[in-house]
Structure formats: structure tokens, C-alpha cells
């Protein structure tokens, strides 16, 4: 039963993730006054890449890097229930909690960082270093917000947190949501915190040495991971979801906001983004936490 459930979650996340990615490419295209590719183009690309050969490989750790990343993404997905109350689409989430999910969010990227390091491509390692330097600053506001939410709902179980919101957390604690949103934009790899991959700027960040089937794997995990993160955010702040319509509606609204934010603002350098995140969003989060828990 759990196996079938997990498989359905995987397929849903795979398709929805690529759908969102296609929409993202279209929407950003409109911002830049051009027409984007067809919505399912990225999906077909990933399928196509799975049939291609890679140009080089660098031994077993390099080979395992993207596989760990994919496993990390699927793990994250399975530990976050899709719906607040449903018996279905909840994977193995009853055996985990929010702390576990917070760590699983970085499991994949760290695994891949090992693969990148093995290849010995300095451009790849540069991306990893930027990512890790930025990671702690990025997590800070998110952690504070999440801790406040956990303390208020008295549990670290994601479904319980989603169910305990009589008024949505985004309405009840807007400051916490704003602070967490800054981190979330960075987690989604959007501007102004997108210096890790830094499209068009450095050679291409952590993915530079991966080609062919490796790239297909990285693209697929990114789609799944994006959807998992959106679902998590919906559970924490937007009251969770009871059915597919509500889930897709809420995740897409959040996604739309994030990509619009991303297409408007320019990119921070690594030290700038650390400085910014540790000052303004962290301050907002601390004020939010004090206001929310003061009694």
C-alpha cells in the first residue's frame, strides 16, 4: 500500500514539477518580452537526455553524486504528506517529522556536492562553495519561522501543523511568513539568491561536469524537489490542502509569486546575499517570533 502510494506521489510530483517548470519558462519569457518554449518542452528534454550518452564520467563517486541527489529529492517528497487529513498520498510521512525534513532538504545537494568535488572541475566546486556559504544564511530566517510555528502548534509533525491552523498561519503570523518567504525564494534557486547556479554568469555551477543521463537525472530531481518544497511551504503557512485542486491551486499561487519575484530582482553576490539574509529577513523573523509567542 505504501509502495503504491509512494509511486503515485512520485509520478504526480514528476509531472507537476515539470509542468511548473514549463510554466516558469513561459512566464519569465513574457517578462522578457519573448515567447517561451512549449509548456511540456522541459519534460520532453529530460526524457530525451535519458537516452543520450554522457561525454565523460569520473569514477564511482561521480556516478553516485546525482543518484544520491535524486534519492534525497524522493526521500523529501515521501516524508511530506500531500494532504492534511487524507489516508492516501502521505508516503512514509507518519514516521518522520519536520526536523527530519529540514535535514533531508540538504541531503541531496550535499550528496551531489561530493560528485562535483570528485570530478575536480573548479567551476563546479565554485558553485558548491557558493551554495554552502549561502546555505546557513538562507536557512536562518526559515529556521526561526519554522521553530515559531512548531512551538505554536505544539508538534513537529507536518500534518498536525497543517491541521492546527484555525486561521491560516500566513494571516495570523504575517511576519514569520515574509521572513520564511525570503529563504524560500533562495531555496527555489530564484533571484536575488541564485548565485549558486548563476545562469549565464559562471560556466554553470554545480551541474557543469554532468552531461547526458546525469543531466537528465539532475533535471528530474529538480522538478520533484521543487514540488516537494512547495507542498512543505503550503503545509506550514497556507493551512495544507484537502484535495488535488486545493493543493495545486495553493502551490501554484506560491510558485507564481516566487518566480515573479525572481524575474524582477537582480542577483546578489554571495557575500551580499549572506549579509542581506542575516540582517533584514532574520530581523523580521525574530520580531515575528517574539510577537507570535509573547504571552
Amino acid at each position: 500500500m505504501i509502495l503504491l502510494d509512494s509511486l503515485l506521489m512520485f509520478i504526480t510530483a514528476y509531472l507537476v514539477g515539470f509542468l511548473y517548470y514549463g510554466l516558469y519558462r513561459n512566464i519569465t519569457a513574457r517578462f522578457q518580452r519573448r515567447f517561451g518554449p512549449p509548456v511540456w518542452q522541459s519534460f520532453f528534454d529530460s526524457i530525451k537526455f535519458f537516452t543520450k550518452e554522457e561525454s565523460t564520467s569520473h569514477g564511482w563517486m561521480f556516478y553516485l553524486g546525482p543518484i544520491i541527489m535524486m534519492s534525497g529529492a524522493i526521500m523529501t517528497l515521501l516524508f511530506i504528506p500531500f494532504f492534511t487529513h487524507s489516508e492516501h498520498f502521505r508516503g512514509v510521512s507518519e514516521y518522520g517529522n519536520l526536523f527530519l525534513v529540514l535535514y533531508l532538504l540538504v541531503l541531496g545537494p550535499l550528496g551531489n556536492a561530493l560528485g562535483v568535488g570528485t570530478a575536480g572541475n573548479p567551476f563546479g566546486v565554485m558553485g558548491v562553495t557558493r551554495g554552502l556559504s549561502r546555505l546557513f544564511a538562507l536557512e536562518m530566517p526559515f529556521y526561526i519561522a519554522v521553530i515559531a510555528i512548531m512551538s505554536l502548534s505544539g508538534s513537529s509533525d507536518i500534518a498536525t501543523i497543517a491541521a492546527s491552523q484555525s486561521t491560516l498561519n500566513v494571516v495570523a503570523y504575517p511576519l514569520l511568513f515574509i521572513a520564511a518567504l525570503f529563504s524560500f525564494i533562495g531555496m527555489m534557486g530564484q533571484s536575488p539568491f541564485d548565485v549558486v547556479g548563476a545562469p549565464v554568469e559562471v560556466y554553470s555551477g554545480p551541474a557543469s561536469e554532468f552531461s547526458g543521463k546525469f543531466l537528465a537525472l539532475l533535471m528530474s530531481q529538480s522538478a520533484i524537489f521543487t514540488f516537494a518544497k512547495l507542498v512543505l511551504m503550503v503545509h506550514l503557512f497556507l493551512g495544507g490542502a484537502e484535495g488535488f485542486v486545493e493543493l495545486l491551486g495553493k502551490t501554484f499561487a506560491l510558485f507564481l509569486f516566487v518566480i515573479m519575484f525572481g524575474s524582477i530582482y537582480g542577483r546578489f553576490k554571495t557575500p551580499q546575499s549572506i549579509d542581506f539574509l542575516l540582517k533584514i529577513p532574520t530581523a523580521i523573523a525574530v520580531v515575528g517570533l517574539i510577537l507570535a509567542t509573547w504571552s
Binding site: S55, L64, I67, L104, G120, T129, S133, I144, P271
Partner: protein, 548 residues
């Protein structure tokens, strides 16, 4: 123990085997057994092992003492035997630094103990809380401050860590694992005794611990020396323990993290010792690219760093989870955020640790001919790695044992249902499910992916990389990551952290002390005639005093 033959009839000393002491004693024995494996790789004199035995016995005296006086004797012997053990490899300056701090620690603990004794004339732990209550406000504060100073020096809490990093770096590779894994735990034990038997310290301890872990983590990121990085990491990890001991129900988390930290630091220091043994290099800027030369060491290091990072599915997550939930339960929300922040920052130095040694490119031709580390280094690491994997799968395996300790200390015990589920008031997780889900997904993805892949295309050599259309060669600087973390210096918030150090403070303290001692030099010149004059004056004063 009866001291009446010495004319000290009212002093009672006891030895007591508590479950808490047994736990720490088993850590000592376990760590010593692990170190036995590598002794044959180093030619050390007999006196080293004799002193090591003395050190071990002093540690047991600390643990099994039932009162503060025997505890102090153990502490003093520990400090001195450690001094002699360190003297085998330390430079004079570092050794001086160590002994001054160790003596200051021992003396301040001694004064604190005498303060406690002054109120109810008892050294026993059993009467300690009562004696403390009977102290005045000033004496009470002085007791806490002196006691904490002594313990913090041993733990290397930030501000008191001045001796620690250098001592760890220069100490013998056989002794460093012991320093980090075991000797620092004596500080933890003393702190647990203090907070459970004498006085709860709540916020002050938690804040001290959190500052320690954050500062030490950022200092670790900048280090080029492997052992210095691990030393700072050790300080940071002990900072978590100090933090969680600020919470009433934090002892469970502290015990769990002590266990994990002992195992993981033994593993990492042994791993690094093996690499230094084979290459003779101990800096990230001189290492690199060893992964396919020493694959077993790499995998063991990987298990170590996953645990150190507190990543599921290994044991490190269990102890971090305990720490986080006890802080959450006590509503130490901002402190919890700071602990998690420090834990996330640690990923940077943890990646540097594995990248600088095993990944990237070799920085020297000699590194291309390195062979695998000897089995004597690998066997203890395999045992430790197995322990960490088991603890990751069955995180509640040690909970029944911890509950016995917690009951003995009259603390709330940890909920226990089965060995796989670690449950707290703020949620639970099932280690077995986490481990098996990860393994299943990993194997599944691996199989599918390997079947898709028709033929392997390996790189010709290590220069066969995507490099902006150019072809790198021997002269190209490719081992990029050994200096990672440098850019943090450009962040204005963090640069203050890097600019400041405790060195100027201790330097000026040393200078002041020397100036002060000049006064005594005027009296004690070494000239016999002056000495005689002063002795005569002193005798006359005494005579006058007694006749008055």
C-alpha cells in the same frame, strides 16, 4: 573513607559507582580499545604508555568520586598527566599555554570546592545542593563562576579555548583522538554533576554554549590545518552539549550527543591520522584527490562527516533531534534557532574536510602514488562506522540505558516504545523506516539508472573536464576548494568575528602578570644577602606581632 588518622575526622570521602559514571567510563574504555589498534604503527616510549595508564586511572577517579575532593584530586592528576603526555610532541610555547590554563582550571575548581565546604563542612555530592543553598549570594555566585571557569577550560568553551586548538594540532596523532573524544567528556561529566546535583543554570549556560558553537564553527571554516579544523569542530560540538544542559530535561540529549561525539571524533581523528601517516601532510593546501587512492578511508570519512553534520539516516541525527526537541520543549526558541544556524554553517567546514583531503585534484605529484591506509587504522574506523549506522537505524537502542541514568538523577525519562522509534514530546521519528526508505530508493534509482546507461565513458585523465573550452594541465591551479570559506571574510557581519580573537586579551594578561611579578623580583633578587635582610625583617615583624 575514614581520614581520622590524619586528624581530619569530620571529612568524609566516598567512591560511588553511579550509572552516569558507568556510562562515561564505558566511553573511556571503548575509546582506549579503539586506540589500541593503531599503537603498533607508532614507536612510542614505555613512559608514554605508563603516563597514559596514570591518565586513565585519574579519569576513573573523577568519574567514581562520590564527593568533590576526590573529584578534584582526579582532575589535578588528569591535568598533570595530560601535560606530560602532551610534552612528547608539543612546542614549548603551546605546552606553557596548556599547563597555565590547566592549573588555573584546577585551582579555580579547588577554590570553588572549598567555598562549598565552608558552608556545611561536607564535600559529598549528596550534600552539595544543601551546602550551595546555605551560601550567601556573593559566595554562591563566586562558586558558580569558579566552577564554570574550571569546566569551560576543559571543554574549550569560546574565550577559554586558547590552549585547546594549538594543543590538539600539535599533539601526537595517537593522543589527539583521546583528547577530543574522552578528555573533553570529563568537562561534560563535571557539568552534568553541577547542573543536576548542585544548581540549575538555565539561560546563562545555554547562551554560552550557543555562542561557543557559532564562533567555533566559523573559525573552523577558515582553518587550513586538518587537525585545527577538527579541534574547532570539537569545541562547537561540545557547545551544543553545554547549550542543552541549560535546559532542565536536557541531560538525555547531552548524554546522547556525548556518545555520538565520542564515536565520530574517534572516527575522524583516526581517519586523519591514517592519512597523515601515509602522506606526512596535514594541510588541506597540501592534500587533495586521494579518493581513488584510499577508497576505504574515503567511505569511512564520508560516514563520519554525515554523522558530524547530523544528517539522517545516520546516528548524528538522533542526538541532534534530542537536543532540538528539548530546547523546543523548554521554549528556548531563539537559542534553538541559533543552534540550528550553527549546525547549518557546519556543512561548509564538513564539506571542506572531505573535499580538501579526498576530492578535487592532488596538489603534489607524490600524492598520486599514495596507497591505502594500513588495516590497523581501518579496523577501528569500521567498528565505529558500524556503530553509527546501527544507531542511525535503531536510534532508541540506548534509550532504556539512558532512562536508568535519568531516573537515578531524578529527571524525566525519555519515552520508549521500540528500538527504532525515538520519541519526544515534540514528535518522533522512526530510524528504521528512514534508513530502509533511503536504501530502497537509492538502490532503485541506481538500478534504473545503471540499466539506462549503455556503455561507460570514463575520463582519460583527471584533466579531462569541462573547462570553458580550454585544456587544463599540470600548471593550472585546479584544487579550488582548499581555501573555501575565504569569501565569508567579505561579509561585514562575519568579518568582525574573524578580526577578533582572544589572543590580544591573553597576551595583555600575560604582560600585566609579568609587570606585576617585577615587584617580587625587587624583593627576591637571588642575592643571598638581600634574602637574608628580608628574612630578618620578616622575623622581626612576626616576633613583634606575637608579643603584642
Amino acid at each position: 573513607m575514614d581520614l581520622s588518622i590524619f586528624g581530619l575526622s569530620d571529612i568524609v570521602l566516598t567512591l560511588k559507582a553511579t550509572h552516569l559514571a558507568n556510562f562515561f567510563a564505558s566511553l573511556i574504555i571503548f575509546a582506549s580499545l579503539m586506540l589500541l589498534f593503531i599503537t603498533k604503527n607508532y614507536k612510542l616510549s614505555k613512559s608514554f604508555y605508563a603516563l597514559f595508564t596514570l591518565l586513565l586511572s585519574s579519569l576513573f577517579l573523577i568519574l567514581y568520586a562520590g564527593d568533590y575532593l576526590l573529584f578534584f584530586i582526579g582532575w589535578e592528576v588528569m591535568s598533570i598527566s595530560t601535560y606530560f603526555l602532551l610534552s612528547f610532541s608539543l612546542s614549548k610555547e603551546t605546552l606553557h599555554k596548556y599547563i597555565i590554563f590547566a592549573m588555573a582550571s584546577a585551582l579555580s575548581i579547588f577554590i570553588a570546592i572549598l567555598l562549598l565546604y565552608s558552608s556545611k563542612q561536607s564535600f559529598l555530592y549528596a550534600n552539595a545542593a544543601e551546602s550551595f543553598m546555605a551560601l550567601g549570594t556573593f559566595e554562591g555566585l563566586a562558586f558558580i563562576a569558579l566552577m564554570l571557569f574550571g569546566i569551560f577550560v576543559k571543554l574549550g568553551t569560546i574565550g577559554f579555548h586558547y590552549w585547546l586548538v594549538d594543543a590538539y594540532q600539535e599533539s601526537h596523532n595517537l593522543f589527539t583522538p583521546f583528547l577530543s573524544a574522552v578528555l573533553s567528556k570529563m568537562g561534560v561529566y563535571a557539568l552534568i554533576i553541577l547542573v543536576t546535583q548542585v544548581v540549575e543554570l538555565s539561560y546563562s549556560l545555554a547562551i554560552m554554549g550557543v555562542i561557543t558553537s557559532i564562533v567555533a564553527t566559523f573559525k573552523a571554516i577558515q582553518e587550513d590545518s586538518v587537525k585545527r579544523l577538527l579541534a574547532y569542530s570539537s569545541i562547537a560540538q561540545l557547545g551544543y552539549i553545554v547549550t542543552v544542559l541549560g535546559v532542565a530535561d536536557g541531560v538525555g540529549g547531552a548524554l546522547y550527543h556525548s556518545l555520538i561525539h565520542t564515536a565520530v571524533k574517534l572516527l575522524l581523528f583516526l581517519n586523519v591520522a591514517g592519512i597523515i601517516y601515509m602522506t606526512g601532510r596535514s594541510k588541506f593546501s597540501q592534500l587533495g584527490g586521494l579518493i581513488y587512492k584510499t577508497p576505504q578511508s574515503f567511505v569511512l570519512m564520508l560516514i563520519g562527516i554525515i554523522t558530524l553534520a547530523g544528517m539522517p539516516p545516520l546516528g548524528g541525527f538522533a542526538s541532534k533531534f534530542m537536543i532540538y526537541t528539548s530546547l523546543l520543549d523548554a521554549k528556548y526558541l531563539l537559542i534553538l534557532a541559533a543552534v540550528m544556524f550553527s549546525s547549518a554553517s557546519a556543512f561548509l567546514y564538513i564539506y571542506k574536510l572531505i573535499y580538501g583531503i579526498y576530492l578535487g585534484h592532488p596538489t603534489n605529484k607524490k600524492l598520486e602514488t599514495v596507497r591505502e591506509v594500513p588495516w590497523s587504522f581501518l579496523i577501528p574506523q569500521y567498528i565505529l562506522a558500524l556503530l553509527l549506522i546501527i544507531l542511525g537505524t535503531y536510534p532508541a537502542l540506548v534509550v532504556p540505558y539512558f532512562n536508568v541514568i535519568l531516573q537515578e538523577l531524578h529527571l524525566k525519562s525519555i519515552a520508549f516504545s521500540d528500538y527504532a522509534t525515538l520519541s519526544t514530546t515534540y514528535g518522533e521519528y522512526n530510524g528504521f523506516v528512514v534508513m530502509s526508505t533511503f536504501t530502497a530508493i537509492f538502490v532503485l534509482v541506481l538500478l534504473v539508472f545503471t540499466n539506462l546507461r549503455s556503455k561507460k565513458k570514463e575520463a582519460k585523465d583527471r584533466f579531462d573536464i569541462a573547462y570553458c573550452g580550454e585544456e587544463p594541465n599540470e600548471a593550472t591551479h585546479l584544487h579550488y576548494g582548499f581555501s573555501m570559506g575565504k569569501e565569508l571574510k567579505r561579509v561585514s557581519l562575519l568579518s568582525t568575528l574573524y578580526k577578533n580573537s582572544v589572543k590580544p586579551f591573553y597576551d595583555s594578561l600575560a604582560e600585566q602578570t609579568l609587570n606585576f611579578s617585577d615587584i617580587f623580583k625587587k624583593i627576591y633578587t637571588g642575592n643571598l644577602a638581600t634574602n637574608f635582610q628580608f628574612a630578618t625583617i620578616f622575623a622581626i615583624i612576626l616576633l613583634w606581632w606575637s608579643l603584642k
